[in-house]
Amino acid sequence: MSWKNIKLIFTKELVGTIRDKRTIIAMIIIPLIFYPLLFTGIGYFNKVGSMKSEEAASKIMIYGAEFAPKLVKHLQDYEKIEVLTIEDDSLIKLQNGDIQAVLAIPPDFKYKIEQGGPGKFILKYDTTEAKSRIAKQRINQVIEKYKGEILLQRLSHLDLKEEFLTPLILQEENIATAEKITGSFLAVLLPYLIIILIFAGAMHTAVDITAGEKERGTIATLLVSQISRLEIVLGKCFAVMLISFTSMVLGLIGLTLAFLSGASIAGGVEGVQFGISINTVFLLFLVLFPLVGLASAVLVMVGIFARNIREASSYITPIYMLTIFLGIISISQGIELTSKMFLVPVLNSSFVFKELLIGKIYWDHILTTFSANMVIAGFALLGATRLFTKEEVLFRS
């Protein structure tokens, strides 16, 4: 085996892939330009929408205003509430969005409050309308304020202090470090995203440089050269690994940019600190490397087996679905981890990513995952090389 030959194939595949417009679109334009623009756009329109809803005063109608004059006074005093004169078709107006809420106060309201009972009244609103939801919040604020006043009055009648209502005070102290908080925030989605991005990034190149070579008739020209089949397979696999890893990194950068730009426009990101240590990053890479190798080797093997690009894509679709499925399992909370689970490829990496992101380092999990994925990647590589020597696979039509 000659590294020089492997490098020749590796470089050829890399240059060919980089010169492919589809690669540039999938690897750079979509994650680094399209995602941030999309999220910025969504953030912008959300902000414009919510600003409009926030700025406008909520128009409400009150039936039986005379039975709760104090409450009505509070509502009228609230800057962003406009109390309209009642009309018969108030419900239709609410449905049409002309007004945002209707408050109905029964005649016995005042009496019940004075008697020390609960004063019941009805608020009608439309939860599907942003403006109506805002009106509800505003009314609730006013009601809470009024409720506080009534309570204080009742307490003073009974000669009790305000503290009477708070017999217990629990002071909470969160001991989680910034790293752990960031990690647990990232640990939910990041492993899933990493796995999907690795497989999605490897797919196109793996198929193009295997089944694609068969389809275009270039494979025969490699087979009659001085390069061995193992060198060809390794060169191709390494190229897919690099492309897959790069598109995963670019994808994550793109999504981070998208998240930050989208969120900062919509109101800023507070409390998210990126506190991942160098050690964690190193261990992440240690787990990442065999996973990238595994994805590349399996996809290259499938690509070599397929007659053409179309056939390869149809074989790869179920593999991709399985990966998504494993990714989803890893997102699910409350799975009790057993040591056997770390033998399942893809799933094991996802669990270790999760552990690392929340600052837990279990060496047995890391080593099992690393070894299991390396062994399977090795078998896939051997399988790919073996397929490359089988004439019925290389020349079937």
Binding site: L8, G217, T218, A220, T221, L223, V224, Q226, E391
Partner: protein, 248 residues
Amino acid sequence: MIQVEGLTKVFHDKKRGEVIAVNNLKFNCQKGKIYGLLGPNGAGKTTTLRILATMILPTKGKVKVNGFDVVKEPREVRKQIGFLSSETGLYDRFTPRETVMFFGRINGIEDKIIEKRTAEIFHNLDMEDFQDVRVNKLSTGMKQKLSIARSIIHNPPVLILDEPTVGLDIITARTVIEYIKSFRDQGKCIIYSTHIMREAEKLCDMIAIIHQGNLIAQGTLEELKKNSSFDDLEEIFFELINQGENLE
């Protein structure tokens, strides 16, 4: 330079069972000669040439290329051959210069020698004008010239050409044939498969007629004519095929 003895290739097909693609072939090709394999589609020409090129293994028989055994010394055999077929493609996203450099390197040639040979080949094949244009922008004729350049960059003594003019227009096909003649003049041993009678007549020093995997006649054009009641290769071809089928 090429010695084939008792060459047999059996494929296993799920539907048809065992298929004998090539049956007990025996022939020799000499230096400075063009040996033509003539036969209809499915006769076994491509299978024979793929075995010579070490792409597939023979089921039975012995094949030596410039003294090297295709089964025992495939790597040495590959050093001796340049392979070109109507099915071999090119890398669309590379230029002719890059393509030839890559194939020179994967055939173990040093960069300096590749550069020198590339300049010679591009000059001889009149490729200098498009040597830095990507393959996907080239015409069919330009691509075929590049395919030839690619297959001879390591200066192999033996050329294995499997229907290299299929799908080419008449002008490009003629150009390709002229180059093949010039390679013969340089002393290379060329094995050439075709189903086009005119090409075989014009080009080949020796012609072997293959039908359903069997070699049913071989010799120079004159020898084939002498043994036949016809004077035209096409008529001779059909006469031989009919004889072969009647024998079965």
